[in-house]
């Protein structure tokens, strides 16, 4: 029996190896019109107005077009479904000339009525859809709803006032107050124009609310029939397995060279890298900094770094003593060795940050900004000046189970910061919890004295950095600086570009004087492609503005 067994084992092994080797010979790159993309998760819904996660906005960005778009690789607003626009003198009416001859992928025409139907839909979302988890971007940009949910913001708080069609190809969006960030905001993929016929036919807003308060569409618009005017359309989606987009034959722009995009959800970053190396996928996003060297060292792949617009900062809650004392906040700023962290943990592409706006933006202050270089002695002196006896105990929060471009590995950042603070007259007490939901909830409820956080902008405008964080009082930073709030509101309403830039520069300086945050790194998100894929241009806002229609296999 022993001999028989050995023989069987040997035969089995040989058969297995032969079979696998034979199959390995089958060429994987045969489908040259198909791009297989490793996503880090499934999308939640394919209705961009009801999602805010990158995994959903990546495919919807290929399916829907907004009225305006952004020039490739920049944040400059360019025509998309609208070819021209003007604004009234009082800046309360924006009139858009629409592109003619455009059809939705279901064959229905795109026109002024379709634009108004979409804006009216967003403004009139029923109460369940007014949850932050769903219509977050409408609320961020426009504020209120026509019929607010109990406790929600109503028409008086809404930037949006109405929509007026002038014939087929001209439409006006009416605002309640001037806003200089409005135009860039409606270029967000969340404001992609959907086919009104499909919205109705596939019951985009119909749904139930389950026992935990989540809205579940009973219609099929957001799961099976997302109909837009974009270069691609949905062919099939098996959650957990794959999503297939195919070229939209009715697309108004240049026909995409890649006819099919397959998104495969692969949660584990090392599994994505290995799948790329084995040729099973040709692209993936959110490349871990520790993999940069491996990828760069292989000619078969090309790594693209996005412009560094993702900001890592240490937040300070001024409502929790002794952080209410400006001297203590300055001591923290001198006690954090941010430059060392930016250099060490970002794959060689982290740039030290000294203020809240990236240097490429008009509101970046070139002078007058207080600079805090790591200086433990100065930190200790400031603490003493504040009447405290070092070491001063501080509660420093850091998140687990998360990786963001601005903090690829939060634990390493925390450990480095804790070490530098401990040398600078502080005694750090570590406080960690999972990013979702405990950490974010705790920080945003104002429980964290000092915390690791960051910001990925939705669009590249000072308003999306400064107004979002410091435009009003929040529990997170616990500061109430009316002068800064007024300054930021004035900056957002300013129509003159130079005046606007000057106001934002003032605000940038004020933020660094008040120190609700200590910015330390500008990080770049990275995406990798098989080097046979040509034509990719990384966007400063990341995946939401990276059309796949211009890619080709070279």
């Amino acid at each position: 029996m022993a001999k028989g067994l050995k023989l069987a084992l040997a035969l089995g092994a040989v058969a297995l190896l032969t079979a696998t080797a034979a199959f390995a010979a089958s060429d994987r790159g045969a489908a040259s019109d198909t791009l297989v993309y490793g996503a880090s998760a499934d999308p939640s819904l394919l209705d961009p107005s009801l999602t805010s996660d990158g995994e959903s906005l990546r495919p919807t960005g290929q399916i829907f077009d907004s009225l305006v778009g952004f020039k490739k690789g920049t944040s400059t607003v360019v025509p998309s479904l609208a070819t021209k626009w003007t604004t009234s003198k009082n800046q309360l009416a924006w009139t858009f000339k629409l592109r003619k001859g455009v059809q939705f992928s279901d064959g229905t025409p795109f026109n002024a009525a379709a634009v108004c139907a979409n804006f009216t839909r967003w403004y009139s979302f029923p109460a369940p859809l007014q949850s932050d988890a769903l219509s977050y971007y409408w609320q961020t940009v426009f504020g209120g709803f026509a019929k607010p949910a109990p406790g929600g913001l109503g028409p008086d708080k809404s930037l949006y006032k109405g929509c007026k069609a002038h014939g087929q190809y001209s439409v006006s969006i009416l605002l309640r107050r001037p806003s200089s960030s409005f135009l860039a905001a409606i270029g967000l993929p969340n404001f992609g124009i959907a086919s009104p016929t499909a919205l109705k036919k596939y019951e985009a807003d119909a749904g139930t609310v389950d026992a935990t308060g989540v809205f579940h569409p009973t219609g099929t618009f957001a799961t099976q029939h997302p109909i837009g005017t974009g270069p691609y359309m949905l062919q099939s989606w098996t959650p957990g397995n794959k999503m297939v987009l195919v070229a939209n034959p009715k697309y108004w722009g240049p026909k995409p060279k890649i006819k099919r995009i397959i998104y495969i959800p692969i949660g584990d970053p090392s599994a994505r890298l290995q799948a790329l190396q084995s040729g099973e996928i040709q692209a993936y996003d959110n490349v871990a900094p520790q993999d940069f060297a491996t990828i760069k060292g292989n000619k078969k792949f090309k790594l693209y770094l996005r412009p560094p617009t993702s900001l890592g900062y240490v937040g300070i809650n001024q409502s929790l003593p002794p952080m209410n004392n400006p001297l203590v906040r300055q001591a923290v700023a001198y006690g954090l060795n941010g430059a060392a962290v930016a250099k060490a943990f970002y794959g060689g592409v982290g740039t030290p940050a000294t203020q809240f706006l990236p240097p490429s933006l008009a509101g970046f202050a070139k002078k007058g900004v207080p600079v805090f270089k790591y200086d433990p002695a100065k930190s200790i002196a400031l603490l003493k000046q504040a009447g405290l006896t070092p070491p001063v105990k501080i509660d420093f929060w850091w998140p687990t189970s998360v990786s963001r471009p601005y903090m690829p590995d939060p634990q390493r950042n925390f450990e480095a910061f804790a070490a530098s603070l401990n040398k600078a007259g502080f005694q750090v007490e570590a406080h960690s919890s999972p990013w979702r939901p405990d950490y974010r909830a705790g920080v945003q409820a104002g429980k964290a004295q000092l915390f690791l956080f960051g910001w990925n902008p939705d669009f590249i405008d000072p308003a999306n950095y400064l107004n979002v964080h410091f435009g009003s009082k929040t529990a997170q930073f616990g500061f109430d600086n009316q002068a800064l709030f007024t300054l930021l509101a004035k900056a957002d309403a300013a129509s003159n570009a130079d005046a606007r830039a000057a106001l934002y520069q003032q605000a940038s300086i004020q933020v660094m004087k008040q120190l609700p945050v200590i910015p330390y790194v500008w990080a770049a998100g990275a995406i990798v492609f098989d080097s046979s894929v040509k034509g990719f241009v990384p966007s400063p806002v990341g995946t939401v503005n990276e059309p796949m229609s211009s890619l080709s296999f070279g």
Binding site: A24, S44, I281, R436, Q444
Partner: protein, 334 residues
């Protein structure tokens, strides 16, 4: 035999009630709440309170449990918070993936472990025996995810022989009526798809099966060594039976009894080990799904998914007991 099975089935009732209570209470003991998780970054305490009140999360736990039992009895497992798909839909798609993987791992573990253990025993203290011991030690001590990454590096990245992710080729358009991909290929007459599914199972099965393999081979070895010295084996040999017949009829049949028990227990471990394997191989199964659900405080998924897995585990053990009874008449009598 029938009485034995009925008795075991009746015992399932209190076990399942106990399980449902445990799962329900345990999930609610987790810090954080789904309302906060759901409302996201900008949740105000008022909004959280409103959601909690509106959907009964502020009711006493026993009231919530009763409501949960009622919906459970109607076959409704709820809807996932994170994916917005029903738990039943997810189970239909994910459970087959996990079972396929666990079975493949078990086939690998038994197929290699039993012969290896047998050989080690037959060549007691020989080179083969020592090599087997070393292999077992490595199998038990090497972390699954590490082994998985090494296997993928060698067989997918370097040699390009086997796929590293998923359950089928990324370009495959095969149909899946049952979601058991190997079976689906056979049902739809697409044997290429079955073979594709099997190729996708090889590396995950080896990674996941390495620990059970080591255990099974060690238990088999010990058991064969024991049985070999029994009087009835000596008698069989003495009466002139061919060594092969002695091994097959007398040694293996008796030596496999403890191995059967171990296999049953290992099935449970395989289900938990699947969490890592599924994550590393991007297999959309139960393990990776439940792991995500824990982070999202996805109560419906956790309740439905864990209860379902627990029931499966209980049934697997029942099957093992029945197999054991079939192999060993003494169990039936007792």
């Amino acid at each position: 035999m029938l009485r034995f099975i009925v008795r075991r089935l009746l015992l399932l009732i209190p076990i399942l009630i106990g399980l449902s209570i445990l799962v329900f209470v345990w999930i609610r003991a987790l810090p954080g709440s789904p309302a906060e998780s759901l409302l996201g970054e900008h949740a105000t305490p008022e909004a959280v309170a409103q959601i909690r009140h509106q959907y009964g999360l502020d009711e006493p736990v026993y009231v919530q449990y009763w409501a949960y039992l009622k919906t459970l009895a109607s076959g409704d497992l709820g809807t996932s918070i994170a994916s917005t798909r029903t738990v039943t839909y997810e189970l239909e798609h994910r459970f087959p993936a996990t079972i396929e993987l666990a079975l493949a791992a078990m086939i690998f573990a038994i197929g290699v472990g039993v012969p290896l253990g047998f050989l080690s025993a037959k060549r007691y203290r020989s080179g083969v025996d020592h090599a087997g011991l070393a292999a077992s030690l490595i199998g038990i001590s090497i972390p699954i995810f590490f082994l998985a990454i090494i296997l993928k590096y060698i067989f997918s990245v370097r040699l390009g022989w086997l796929p590293s992710i998923g359950r089928e080729d990324t370009l495959s358009e095969a149909e899946h009526p049952t979601n058991f991909y190997v079976l689906d290929g056979i049902i739809t007459g697409n044997l290429g798809a079955s073979w594709d599914a099997i190729r996708h199972l090889i590396l995950p099965a080896i990674a996941l099966g390495s620990i059970p393999l080591a255990i099974i081979s060690r238990i088999t070895r010990a058991s064969v060594l024991d049985v070999q010295n029994e009087d009835y084996v000596r008698t069989a040999r003495a009466k002139g039976l061919a060594p092969r017949t002695v091994d097959r009829r007398h040694v293996m049949r008796n030596a496999l009894l403890p191995v059967t028990t171990i296999i049953g227990l290992q099935m449970g471990l395989l289900l938990s080990g699947a969490v890592l394997t599924e994550t590393v191989f991007a297999i959309p199964g139960m393990g990776s799904w439940l792991k995500e659900a824990i982070f999202n405080r996805d109560y419906p998924v956790l309740q439905g998914g864990i209860l379902f897995l627990a029931i499966v585990f209980v049934f697997v053990n029942l099957l093992v007991d029945i197999t054991y009874a079939l192999l060993n008449p003494r169990v039936r009598v007792s």
